[in-house]
């Protein structure tokens, strides 16, 4: 029974989101603190260094960490206010059990009761329906150690094949393409290569809002004279300053990249020596784009042909160059192909393995890079090993001290798990740090699936919208309440230090998993007494895999301000730049071109749904908003979703900024205020996805998956937009908002 126990309003009244506005004790509580802890921001894959100020086991503020080399003190607004997620009125402090008669729909229970119930339900469901009928969903806001533990826990404690994670909504298209083409899944460079590039090509990455500190790296390149190319359906805050802007139609990325490859070939802007010595398959890739002339590319993408040629000229004739891409090209049914089409541009011009050269994804989630290596993907074992490979299985079984046959096979992916729940094939679920009700496409379908679960247990620190459906909620730990490591977008493994202990009866996530494993009688595999012990086993388990952490120690990671994997043996300096000398990670050392034929997205506009919808993020919110929708100053910055549309569309609809519009797709509809801006294509609307319920952009998005990576196509749907009733004032000037607040105070 996993329906919400009481009404939305009752849940919100009791569990929030409420807004934390000021540090513990208020702004005037003084500036005293007991200690300052060097650690990292919990929001986004850049993992900026930050110093948290602590007093009486509460985080009371921060100080820039100027010495940490990645960000040198820089922070985005989420980083500045991240400390306000602590000491929060919504923080879960006790285990909860669903009880429609209790205020807020949950009653407080003891840990013994909660854990016993979880164990009993797992055993009941698995006895009745088989082990794989109980699934686990994980997240990559958690550390490497916890990611590793979850992978081992699901395989050896739950003994289920059906474990996957919310990285499935993030970097998997890039990961799959990197493995196919280059033999390894990691950003090709440390970010220190970006300032060395003569051309920076940003494709489908809203760098300013989703990876803000990367902006400074791009400007450092431009201070040396580098040119900037940006491909995006919107003029993002960084795109505004670009030398060449390619304002493409959503879903046409591989057509754009294919046309650029065509132009590179037509003008012989190629590195033939590199192609011959270090790659395979150029001829096939070239044949595929033979007809992708600038005129054809312009017709498909909507970008003026001369701009495509100019982008190709800059990329092809610059001695060095970095191509940075993100969810804008990866959240597609062609996500893997889009990334491969970018890699083709890097290989054709020899832009790999040299200073200022590379093609890198900008990983989005906090531990999006490290979390995708430690084995909590459905097809993966630690060290980025393959769960279907007998040698890989045998190695990990030996580290785990189990028989190889005890490790389940390949499971299904996150969206497929939800579909299997909906189909009645999966009956029970345990999740940690994942809010699929907000973050998966087709919200209505996800909610229907959750309602069908016989039992759902959720580990989290706030009652997320998904946790509202749980039978048992286990209060886990915030990032600052535990220690461990994460691996940033650069591939830099860094140390997360505990600033405080979990409050109340909340517990560290890994301790909760160990207790469940004990209840299931599998304690022999989980004899850990600290996070450091998990790290020590994890690095052995990673040894010999592509993501090899074996040479790292926590002390070295701290002393050296991070270590880039692979770091295969003790004393190894780590590997900031991959593929030096054109040596790729495939056994023969060669990279692979892939022929990429353009094909349209899963859903295209038509007479009934004539407008493209694309979704994304805003600077002040993080992913499904479980944390950032509870931080007052961040909510104030962008309080609710707005539908961005071009003045031409607005005029045809009779809409001005602030008018409420109704946006309808084949999945659902929502009403929200319009923001009329010239910074978006006239055939496209944009809605950010951080909000739940009737404000969820994912009510509209399409549950179509990439055939390889199984990432959903968040970036392209067909919708209808009409004017609805109502109008709101949209505050474009923060200073006005502050004055209003003061008047309210007065």
């Amino acid at each position: 029974m996993a329906r919400i126990p009481v009404t939305d309003e009752q849940l919100i009244e009791r569990y929030g989101p409420h807004l934390n506005q000021a540090p513990p004790g208020g702004w005037n509580a003084g500036l005293d603190f007991d200690k300052v802890v060097n650690t990292h921001c919990c929001f986004c894959g850049q993992q900026c260094g930050i110093r948290l100020k602590v007093k009486d086991n509460e985080v009371v503020g921060f100080e820039p960490w100027y010495d940490f080399p990645f960000n040198e003190g820089k922070l985005c607004p989420k980083g500045v206010k991240r400390y306000l997620q602590g000491s929060h009125p919504d923080r879960l402090l006790e285990p909860l059990e669903r009880d429609p008669s209790a205020p807020g729909g949950f009653r407080t229970v003891t840990w013994d009761h909660a854990l016993s119930r979880v164990v009993a339900e797992i055993q009941r469901i698995q006895a009745a329906y088989g082990n794989d009928a109980f699934a686990m969903l994980s997240g990559v806001s958690i550390t490497n150690e916890k990611s590793y533990l979850v992978g081992k826990f699901a395989r050896l404690a739950l003994q289920t094949a059906n474990l996957d994670y919310n990285g499935r909504l993030c970097m998997v298209s890039a990961g799959a393409a990197n493995k196919k083409a280059l033999g390894m899944d990691r950003a090709s460079n440390s970010w220190s290569d970006i300032p060395l590039a003569d051309v920076v090509f940003v494709a489908g990455a809203n760098v300013a809002e989703c990876a803000p500190i990367t902006t400074s790296y791009i400007w450092r390149a431009r201070d040396r004279g580098a040119k900037l190319i940006v491909a995006d359906p919107r003029v993002t805050p960084l795109a505004r300053t670009a030398d060449v802007f390619l304002g493409l139609r959503p879903g046409t990325d591989s057509a754009l990249m294919g046309t650029i490859l065509h132009v590179l070939i037509a003008n012989d802007w190629l590195d033939h020596d590199f192609i011959n010595a270090h790659t395979l398959g150029f001829e096939e890739a070239a044949a595929e784009v033979r007809d992708y002339t600038p005129e054809w590319g312009s017709k498909v993408t909507g970008v003026p042909a001369d701009r495509i040629v100019e982008a190709a000229r800059l990329w092809g004739t610059s001695a060095t160059g970095m191509l940075l891409h993100a969810r804008g090209i990866e959240h597609h049914t062609k996500g893997v192909e889009n990334v491969l089409s970018c890699i083709n541009l890097g290989l054709a011009t020899g832009k790999y393995g040299k200073p200022g050269c590379g093609v890198s994804t900008i990983t989005g989630q906090g531990n999006g890079q490290g979390g995708r290596e430690q084995g909590h993907k459905c097809d993966q074992l630690p060290g980025n090993r393959d769960i279907t490979n007998p040698e890989h299985r045998a190695y990990v079984a030996q580290v785990w001290g189990c028989d190889e046959s005890e490790i389940p096979g390949k499971g299904i992916t996150a969206e497929e798990i939800v579909e299997a729940i909906h189909a009645g094939e999966i009956k029970g679920l345990l999740s940690i740090c994942f809010n699929p009700l907000v973050s998966l496409p087709d919200t209505k379908f996800t909610a229907e699936a959750l309602d069908k679960l016989e039992f759902y247990a959720n580990i989290d620190f706030f009652l997320s919208e998904t946790a509202q459906h749980a039978d048992i909620v286990l209060p886990g730990s915030l990032q600052e309440e535990d220690e461990g490591t994460t691996t940033s977008a650069e591939g830099r493994t860094i140390k997360i230090n505990a600033a405080i202990d979990p409050p109340g009866n909340a517990r560290r996530d890994w301790e909760i998993l160990l207790d469940i494993a004990r209840g299931l009688g599998r304690e022999k595999y989980f004899g850990f007494s600290s996070t450091r012990e998990i790290f020590e086993e994890m690095k052995v388990a990673s040894h010999g895999g592509t993501a090899d952490y074996f040479g790292m120690t926590w002390d070295r990671i701290e002393d050296e301000m991070g270590i880039f994997w692979p770091c295969p043996e003790e004393g190894h300096p780590g590997t900031p730049r991959l593929y030096e000398g054109g040596v790729f990670a495939h056994p023969d050392g060669k990279a692979r071109f892939h022929p990429v034929a353009y094909r349209p997205p899963a859903e295209v506009v038509d007479d009934e749904y004539p407008v493209w919808l694309t979704t994304g993020r805003v600077i002040s919110q993080y992913l499904s908003g479980t944390q950032t929708r509870r931080i007052g100053p961040l909510v104030e910055q962008y309080p609710e979703p707005l539908c961005e549309m071009h003045p031409r569309m607005a005029e045809s609809l009779g809409v001005v900024t602030g008018d409420i519009v109704r946006v309808t797709s084949r999945r659902g509809e929502m009403t929200l205020p319009a923001r009329v801006v010239e910074s978006i294509r006239p055939d496209t609307v944009f809605i950010p996805y951080h909000w739940p319920g009737r404000q969820a952009a994912n009510q509209l998005t399409n549950r179509a998956l990439d055939p390889v990576s199984k990432i959903p196509e968040y970036k392209v749907s067909a919708v209808r937009v009409v004017k609805a009733e109502g109008h709101v004032e949209i505050r474009d000037k923060r200073v006005t908002a502050l004055e209003e607040r003061r008047r309210g105070d007065g």
């Binding site: 000021a22 005037n28 803000p212 802007f245 312009s298 701009r307 600077i619 010239e678 910074s679 006239p682």
Partner: protein, 207 residues
């Protein structure tokens, strides 16, 4: 002409790099001397037309208009040339300064009935730390360091003068310009035309 301000460091604004993220606004209120009140300004220039935003710290004018118009003589510069918030015992809360400042910097606060303004985080800069806003700024549109560091790492030239109609305003804070010989920064001048006028090639692609 302006000179480095505090312990050899100067404050530089390059408005063109601003990404509107508001990290500066959020960090400003974390400052030790005005907890919970952000004194920096950040606005869209015209959100309908462009995502361009503009951050505004105090420019620390050599001869500050805010101090000139203060009937209570409550606004002082310190020995480093930093223009400070009003002196509480003198400030009469009249908001003359708020209206007169050509940059719109001073803010009047009903509580505690006083004008407060950016003082370049003097509590930090006087002990060798960067101001909060320039510390966190992800694009380094707000920048703090020595003239040598700027010359070595940044493009553009530094201008220490603004022109508002007939008023020439020398400032301690520098503004980045393409060519200093173009003369003082004129905020009312027409911006140069670039591809932003037609970012999507509408005449071509959507005609």
């Amino acid at each position: 002409m302006g000179s480095p301000l505090i312990r050899g460091n100067m404050f530089v604004i390059d408005q063109s790099r601003c990404i509107g993220c508001e990290a500066c606004v959020q960090a400003c209120e974390e400052c030790g001397t005005h907890r919970g009140e952000s004194l920096i300004h950040l606005e869209f220039v015209d959100r309908g037309a462009t995502p361009q935003t503009a951050p505004m710290v105090c420019m620390h004018c050599e001869d500050p208009t805010c101090a000139q118009v203060c009937p209570a003589d409550a606004i002082k510069q310190n020995e480093d040339g930093v223009v400070q918030s009003s002196l509480k015992p003198r400030c009469i809360g009249c908001s003359n300064c708020v209206l007169a400042c050509p940059f719109g910097v001073p803010k009047y606060f009903a509580l505690p009935d006083q004008m407060m303004k950016c003082d370049m985080c003097y509590d930090r800069t006087s002990v060798g730390l960067k101001p909060m806003c320039a510390s966190v700024c992800p694009s380094q549109a707000l920048w703090f360091g020595t003239p040598e560091e700027f010359a070595d790492t940044r493009r553009g030239e530094l201008m220490f003068e603004f022109r508002f109609g007939n008023q020439l305003v020398p400032t301690k804070v520098a503004t980045v310009v393409n060519d200093r010989s173009d003369g003082p920064v004129d905020p009312l001048a027409e911006p140069p035309s670039r591809w932003q006028d037609d970012p999507f090639g509408l005449e071509e692609a959507f005609s």
